[in-house]
Structure formats: structure tokens, C-alpha cells
Symmetry: D2
Subunit: 287 residues, 4 copies
């Protein structure tokens, strides 16, 4: 069944009395029926966050007027950060991959099943191993091999390609290259990575080997927004699986893939549903 | 650190535009600062549910006027079901137990640690096996042996005792007697049971034996409000643990206890925090 | 890294003293080094199960002599059921699918990554929805539409095709047709199904709808061998995910897919590793 | 039902062909019926581990002769490390606690329910907060306040007390003092700690605060043997619970307790069942 179109509003601001009321009244006054409202107050920082979604059918403001009116009547007076979307505005996602294909296949088969609310105009690989995977799903594949010498130039070309395609979100699906700070700063809170450990444990290379070495009984995966600090960005989703002494590093790698796929897809889904807000290097993930 | 006193309002009604707004405006108009708001719309039944909590410090209505004013200005016009509490109104809980002590001990040690926001004025046993447990924690224990012949009379005495102690919530901590419909109907959505299976699988007696017989790889526990239909009341919380062919029924029973304790405590906690609403034999459990 | 070839022996028999010793001595006497041994005694039925794996490199019996010698010296005297494999004998798997592609894609991408120790010579669909998925992975797709009228004939043709391809294992990847008893009896403990509930809860059609209706807080998936009794065969693997009142049936379906994929793949993997024995409508799944 | 008495043998040695066979033959030759056998080969270090349990009823060696005969005939020729127990030899456990009572209560109520196969002759506290808990369960409580000045002397007195009571296992049930290396070295692989994080993440003080600060979506608990390196000993058991932005540090602490209790009890249970072997700062935990 086709979902009715909705407006989705995300706001963040200093906490004070009347915030829910003011926003809700703005919507009500234009005959909007709220379908979903979740708010959160960070008591430590007196910070307020809200996600609110209402039906556009019957809503009294035309869509072009909505944002300016909201800004003037609500956001500016209350000094709110805000984002406004309609439910049919799909994030435009570029997937970056290298040679491990499980996360890429998983995202593509979810996408094909209509499970992810995103468009995927292109896939970028620093190797060509996964070109055939892209082709199977009919998605253009671009090869950008990266060396120390060419990194700056290649990233500039990548950014040009991403901009030409209107990409707003990058998903690193086991992409084995570190993006430069310059690159990352172009997409703040818009580059989603999957790290194959339970962060902050086992930062950096070969986390399953590190986990095996330490003798842990559970291994994890973490999806986070990429920042300038390696593996230290705001965490969106994490999950774990149990392991035992019977399992080798190869078993960790094999079984961990399931976890990586699921955790990354969960993060991408939440992001695509406009359910993630970043504050203070942490996330609010609305439910 | 002592928590500031709050008011907690639970509402349920037919969905329509402006509900959040109207309630939030009522609170704002009396200078209340909302600390927590969660709402839910059951799209199938067009039903609206909300839990809203605000600081009483600085709130402009005195507490005696709050309920009558809310009813007159909001609840009656909008045909809302509502419940109103202050955060220091603690549920008064009677625990019913028989001979398995793990859930009882677990609740009592949580209570002693200040983890559960309840008072426990008394414990009722249909046997005396757990009298010493009650005494260790300094809580009066009442013995009501039940037979077919005396059940009606004993339950009448139990109800009298419960009412004399202002009990509003009953927790069946592996209580091995079925309460009569008459009893249950006195405490609608106020009798919390723990069933040692993943309902609706393995209803009735000896669920771990049934699970073992079926060869399941996971066993569960379910906490639910008791209704006239055995093991069929609204589910509040469920969880599971993995098992294998190596485990006997005795292992299921031993390991299942951990699950039962945790699931029951989670349900009691949510109930005590006024986070559970019942609708259509299902629960809304606010987060 | 290529794994060294091993022999894998599965045995089942009535329990009695000396079983481990006799089998281990048979292997040792031919200079075999045991890499893995796990046994299980079902105390209720006095039944013994063992899986034992040893390196073929340096083993003193040539492979043609191994089985006959084992039978004569060990299995017959001890009245053992036995199965003997080498690690490079891969199960030949036919996947049956209908229109939901998530399990099929998942298995194919695992297969392509070398994660599953199986060959997949063909895919059968009762519809053509997933033909393109099969083609993407270069695996022959065969369309067998099933009606009441043609079912017997179509199944006969399917069996002929399976036999012509040396298929020994059938995986029902959300295949929406019930196989006839005649069909199932041709592949005892060799047809693996995924049912999208936590069996024995929610047997039959639309289990997510049933789960939603009941208001459960956890939904499950179960992979089992198919027998003549619907959804009642020996369970190989189960897992669950948490849900809440916020989720619709559509959310259950979407999120449940992850669980179905993982649980089915886990069952296929265990089967392919020759780690599953069936006894008394239950499984022993070696670790 | 009373369990039949069994012998439990744990062995560790360099891997070589014939180990299972030799041990099993030793048992069989004295008419022992193996009830349980699990072995593990650490392929990296070519190390062999086995736990084997057999019925003493009908076993042909008297118990005094068993160990010397095993040593002479098997362990010495094969250069095995070994431990031999009978199932009714219960570990003698001293619990150390400070002021958080949840793990202590949990262990004591399990003990009282007959769930843990241990004796608990005494409880030691560096404060008196939990004296009443000990007394409720009728277990002697000893108060050893620790300061920098008196630590060496107090630990010497503790060791004298432990030895006088035949204590072989120490369980640190949220004990808020670091044991000296000298103390720990007296009980190698016999001091079990619970750390309230998913190690190696959040080592040291206030791990829930660290976790909150980092914004993780899952918090953990780890039970491990104590070594000279803080929080770095061999891990016996770990588990996690999901958290969200809605939860404060206080919520982490409250909800984490359930996890700590369960993980610690699981480790103590495995230890008491003689199912844990330590090798290379990791554990083999037989199932």
C-alpha cells in the first residue's frame, strides 16, 4: 500500500518551556495531524531534540511556504536548528566499497526489495573487485584507485562526481581507505561507516584479530558517522554476536559479516528515515 | 541525587488533529516545562496514546486543582481516558509467591537497592516456603493456603487484606495458583504475572518441559497483565536465552530463572514508572 | 589459505561404555590425528552421538578402504548408524524460492564469498519473480508453476531434475508452496525450511500478522528440516529480534527479514559442515 | 533427583595423535562409561585441551588409586597438565564485596536455591554495608577495612582466614578494592571478578560513565580471572544490553546490574562445574 506523504521536521535547540507546544501549535494551526512525535531532553546540557511527522494531505500550508513560515514563526524566535523533509525526498546515496562484498550486496538487495528509502545513483570502488556486483544491480560503478600520491586529486574528482549526482549521503560498505579530513568535512554527519568491532574496543586495523588475541567472548560491529578522528565519530548503531574458544579468526570474520551487514543497514535505515540527530559527538536515534 | 518531583500524565483517546498541541498548551499555559513526552498512534484503530511528564517545581497550578482543571479543560472536551500521578506516588505492591524464590529474591533485592519505585507492604504465599525470604527483608508475610473448597473464601480475605493495605498492584512472582476471574476483575491491568515461556508458545503447565520436548533452540519468558484467559493477557515484556541439545530440562529450568527474573523486573519497573498503557489486549510501553 | 583435507565421521547408536574409545582407537591405529571431536549422550533415551574429524594427510588408510573397514571393524559390531564424508565433498544444494528474494540473495552472496561449503547447481521457482536474481549470479533457474491439478506431475519433474543434477539438499528460501509428503520423503532430513516465527508459536500462514495481533515484544524465525507435519520438523536454528508497539506489521516483515536470512544461513552452514544429526524429531547441532 | 557421582578430568598438553584415544582407553579399561567429553585443539599453538566426565558407579579403580594410576599411565608419558575432581567436591568460595549488593544477593539466592555447585563458608567486606545481607543468609561476614597503610597486613590476615577455611575460589562481587599482586599470585586462576564494561573497552574506574560519554548503543559486563594486570585477565563470560540516548548514566548503572549479575553467575557456574581452562591469557570454556 502506498504511504501517504508526510512532512518530517527535526529540531534541536536549548531546552526551555513551551517548545513542544509551540511546534505542535504551528502544525495544528495549519490543520496538520501529527502522526509521530518524539522528543528528547539532554538533561546534562539542557538541550532539546524533537522529530515530528505529520500528514501533508489536508495540511493548510503549501509546501513552498512551509519552511519560510516555520523559520519565521518558530525556528528564529526559539533559536532552533531545524531540518525539514517530505517523506518522498529520498537521500541520494553513494556506496564506497573495496573488495569485501557482503555489506554492498546486503544494501543492494535491501534497496531492490524497496526496504531502504534511498536512491543509489552510483557506487565507488578503490579497486574493481566489486564492479560486477554493481553491474548486476544495474548501478554505475566508478573506479578511483587511491595512492598517497594521487589521493588529493582523486578525492577532488570523487567530490565532483558526487556533486554532479546530487549525492547527500555516503555509505562506506567496508571501504578500506581512510577519507581525508578535507573530504569528510564536505559531508558532515553524512558519511556512514561500519567498523567491525564493538567501539571503542579494537580501534583501527584488523579488529577481529585483536579480539581473537584478547580472548573476548563476544564480537561486535559499530556503525558511526565519520569524523576527522578515526573510529571516533558519533555511534548510530551497534550489535554483537557471541563467540567461543572454538572459533578461529576466520570464524570471527565469517560470522561477523552478518553482524556488520545488519548494523550498517540499521544505521542507513535510521539515517534515511531522518531519525538521527548528532549532538556532542553522540547521536539521538529516534525510534 | 534526589530527583525533582514531576507530574506524569497518561492519556488515551480517539486520534484527531491537535491532541499533542492541546495537552502541551495546557501544561505550558501554567508554566510547566515538559521533561518527557512520548506519543503513539495506533493507525489500525485510529487511537492516540501519550505519556507526558513535567517538572512540578515552578508549575503554576496547585496540585489539588491540577486534575479537575485538566479534566474540565482537556480530557472531557476531547473524550480522553487519563491517569495523573506525581513521581513520588509509588505503586503499593503485594507480591504473591509459592516456593520458587528466585523472582521474589530478585524483586526484594532490587527494592532494597532503591531500584524499583514501589512500596512493598506485604507478601502473600499459598505455601510457607518463602516466609523466611520475606522475613529476611523485613516484609510481613501472609499465608493463604488455597484448596478448591476454600478458594473463594481465601480470596475474599486476601482482597480485604490488600485493600486494608492500599495495594494497587499485585506481582505474581512464580505464584503457582490461578486467581479466580472475580479476583482478577478487581485489579484490572494491575496483576503482573511471569510465565516461563515465550508466549503464545507453551501455554499452561511445565513450559520448559514442553520446550525441551519440541527441541527448540531458544527458551523464553513473558511478563503480562493477568486477564480471565490463562496466559493470554497483554504482554508487557519478553526475552529469550539460547539453548542447545546439550541442555536438559533441569538446565532449562536453572538458566531460565535468570530470564524470568529480568523480564518480570523489567515489567514491574515499566509499570511503576507509569509507562504502560493497555489497549485491545496489547500494551503500549513507553520508552 | 587452503584448509587441509579431513575426514568427517558422524555416528549415532545406543549408548554403552567404550564408544569414544573404540572409534578413536580405530583412527589412531591408522595414524589419524583427531582435529575435532564432540559427542553427546541423550540421557533420556540412552542414545550416543558423535562427530569426529581428522586430517587425511598422513592417514594410513586409503580413502576407498576407509568406509568398508570402519563398517566391518566398528559400525557393525557396535550397531552404529554412521555417515562418512571428506571435507571437500560439498553438499549439492537446490534453492527453491517464490517472490521474496532476501533469503535467496543472502545465500547467493554468501556462496559467492566462499562462505558456504556447498555447490548450488540450480534454483527452482514456482514463479518467475526471482529469475533475474538467479541469472545475476549465473545459476540456472527453472520455473515450475504449481497448481492443484499439476502438482504431482510437476513434483515428479522436479525430482527428475534434482536427481539429474545430483542434488542432495534442498533449501526453501521463503518458498511459498507446501511440498507433498511424497516429495519430502525422498529427501529425509535434507529439506531445510525457514519459517518466519519462533516455532511452535504462530504456525502456518502470516506469522507476523499473528504476532502483531497477539502483541508480542519479540518476533522470531526458525529453520528446520521439513517433515510431513507442517512447521513441525526438527529445529536446526532459531533467533529473535525485539519489537515494540511502535512497529506495524510492515515493520515486522521488514525487520524480520534480517532474522530469517541469518537463521536460514546458520542452518545451511551447520548442515553443510555435517554438524547436524536428527533424533526423535530434534537435532543435535555440534558446535 | 540426586545426580550420580562422576569423575571429572581436565587435561592440557601439546597436541599429538592419539590423545583422546589414550585417555578414553584408560577409562574404558577400568569399565568407566563416559558421560561427557569435549576437546579443543588450539591450532595456532598446537595445544590440546579436554574435559571428560564418567560415572564412578561401576568404575573399576578405587578413588585413591585413580589419580596415581592416571599420572603414571597417561599424564606423565604424554606430559599432560591435569586436574581431577569428583562431582561432589564443591569449590569452597569466599565472596568479597563492598557496598553494591546486587551481585552478592544474586549469588546467595542462587546458592540457596541449590543452583551453584559451591560452598560459601564466608563473605569478606572492606566496608560493613553488606554485613546484613550476609547475615540474612546465615553466612559469616568478616570486615577487613583497607587503607594504603594497612593493606599488606590486612591481606595477610585475609589469606590466613581463607586458608583456615579451605577456600579455593574467590569471587569479587563488585569489590571496590584492587588486590595486591602478592594476593592474586596466591590464587592463580581462582579469583573471579566482574567488571562492568565490555572489556577491553572502558578499563578502570566508572566504566558506565565512560560508556555514556562515548555514546555507545550497547553496554556490557565481563567476568574474568584476576591477574596482575588490571582488567586484563582471561575472560570467562561477557554479555551486553542495548541502551539508547534516552538513558542516563543512572539508567546504565541500574540496568547494567542485571547484566553484571548474570555474567558473574555464569562465570562462577562454569568454574564450579570445572569447565574452564586457562591458556595464554584466554579461556577454554567447555559447554
Amino acid at each position: 500500500m502506498p504511504q501517504a506523504r508526510t512532512a518530517i521536521l527535526l529540531v534541536a535547540c536549548a531546552d526551555r518551556p513551551g517548545l513542544v507546544c509551540t511546534v505542535a501549535e504551528f502544525i495544528r494551526s495549519h490543520c496538520g495531524n501529527i502522526l509521530y512525535l518524539e522528543q528528547h531532553v539532554d538533561q546534562d546540557h539542557r538541550a532539546f531534540f524533537m522529530r515530528i511527522e505529520w500528514a501533508l494531505d489536508g495540511f493548510g500550508l503549501d509546501e513552498r511556504s512551509l519552511a519560510p513560515r516555520f523559520v519565521k514563526e518558530v525556528a528564529e524566535p526559539l533559536e532552533m536548528d531545524w531540518q525539514l523533509f517530505t517523506s518522498d525526498q529520498r537521500p541520494r546515496v553513494a556506496i564506497f566499497a573495496t573488495k569485501e562484498g557482503h555489506c554492498l550486496y546486503d544494501l543492494l538487495s535491501r534497496h531492490e526489495a524497496g526496504e531502504l528509502n534511498v536512491d543509489i545513483p552510483l557506487i565507488i570502488g578503490n579497486r574493481t573487485d566489486l564492479q560486477s556486483a554493481a553491474e548486476r544491480f544495474g548501478i554505475p560503478f566508478h573506479h578511483f584507485p587511491i595512492t598517497k600520491a594521487n589521493k588529493a586529486a582523486q578525492e577532488a574528482d570523487e567530490i565532483a562526481l558526487l556533486e554532479a549526482n546530487g549525492i547527500d549521503t555516503i555509505v562506506l560498505a567496508r571501504y578500506m581507505q581512510i577519507l581525508s579530513d578535507a573530504f569528510v568535512s564536505r559531508f558532515p554527519n553524512r558519511v556512514i561507516n561500519i567498523h567491525h568491532s564493538f567501539l571503542p574496543a579494537f580501534i583501527g586495523a584488523k579488529p577481529y584479530h585483536q579480539a581473537y588475541q584478547r580472548g573476548v567472548k563476544i564480537i561486535g560491529a559499530t556503525s558511526h558517522y565519520v569524523t576527522a578522528d578515526l573510529d571516533d565519530g558519533p555511534i548510530i548503531a551497534q550489535d554483537v554476536i557471541s563467540v567461543s574458544h572454538r572459533e578461529s579468526v576466520a570464524d570471527f570474520i565469517r560470522r561477523g559479516r552478518d553482524n556488520e551487514k545488519t548494523v550498517l543497514a540499521r544505521a542507513v535505515y535510521a539515517h534515511a528515515q531522518r531519525k538521527v540527530l548528532v549532538f556532542n559527538n553522540k547521536t539521538v536515534v529516534f525510534s
